[in-house]
Amino acid sequence: MALSERCSAVQARLTDALFARVDAASSDLQHTEHCGDCGTFARDLSALGTALSADGTRDASDGLVGVTLVRARAELSHRDAALAAPLEGFGREVSRLVGLSLLPLPIVLLWNAAVLSLGDQLLTGIVPDALLRALTAGYVLAGTTWLACLYGSLPVVAHRVLRRRSLSAPEVAT
């Protein structure tokens, strides 16, 4: 059965009082004395509060704190050392990335050559030669810029990969 608006409001206030750890309003308590649903709710809530309060404080064991401190200090010194140390294998990582990115390059170049050739065939005679040359030059420039950005970013990517690898958490026996 759905609760009346008043009962819902009373139960909400009783719940708020439980979490705020304050006494419920006297008018709400009076209501619980005359309302079956709210009376049951208040009794359950009281039992719940008692049970929750009885679940005492818990603390980490000294052993756990000690191990945590050792691991955290190891992490701290490892990170500082890793940040200060020069990155090893930078050239190798760049070469690897360049190698990977060169694999699809022929397809990309062929595709763009095909687009230029097709565009030239379709537009010759329709648009003025000067405009066609400008469109072709613009396309080539955009493609070249894109490739330059891609290959130019590879050292940055290699640096990030190596830095992340060097900062990964150290293994500490626990």
Partner: protein
Amino acid sequence: MESDERLMARLAEGDESALGPLLDRWRGPLYGFLARRVGDSDADDLFQETWLRVVRYRDRFDPQRKFSTWLFQIANNLCRDRGRRLEVRDRYRRDRQADAAGDPTRTRPPPLDQTLDIRRRVAELPDKLREVLVLRYFRELPEKEIARIVGIPPGTVKSRLHAAVKALRAQEPSNGTE
């Protein structure tokens, strides 16, 4: 006494000696939170992982914010990650519970006030409800701070608290609704 935020600032500068006092100050509250969120068996691991992240991401701490909010945010996120990992297992368990609920030979659980095993009941709450309940009741944090830690509006914190009470009152743990 040096504030938590000042200790964190020192830690961010690489001062190792700031770690001990911070850990000492927050070991109880953090462990209590984790134990109630994930149970004693996993609390140890998450306790260590929380502090490792505090150290690892110390540069990201904003000294304008409360350290405790940041600490419990990290811990709560770890609990959520763990929850997601266990989701498949939990779903299987829930299915089994649903099957058992349909079994007429299964006895009804006794009333709340007779055998209230509060740890079990809290542990069986849906994660969304348990996180706000633990932070509000056991950590006694205000709803606004819980909202910041959990990343939800304060009104939702309140509605989840009410839903948690409903679920705890119910004889069978209910699914969290808002």
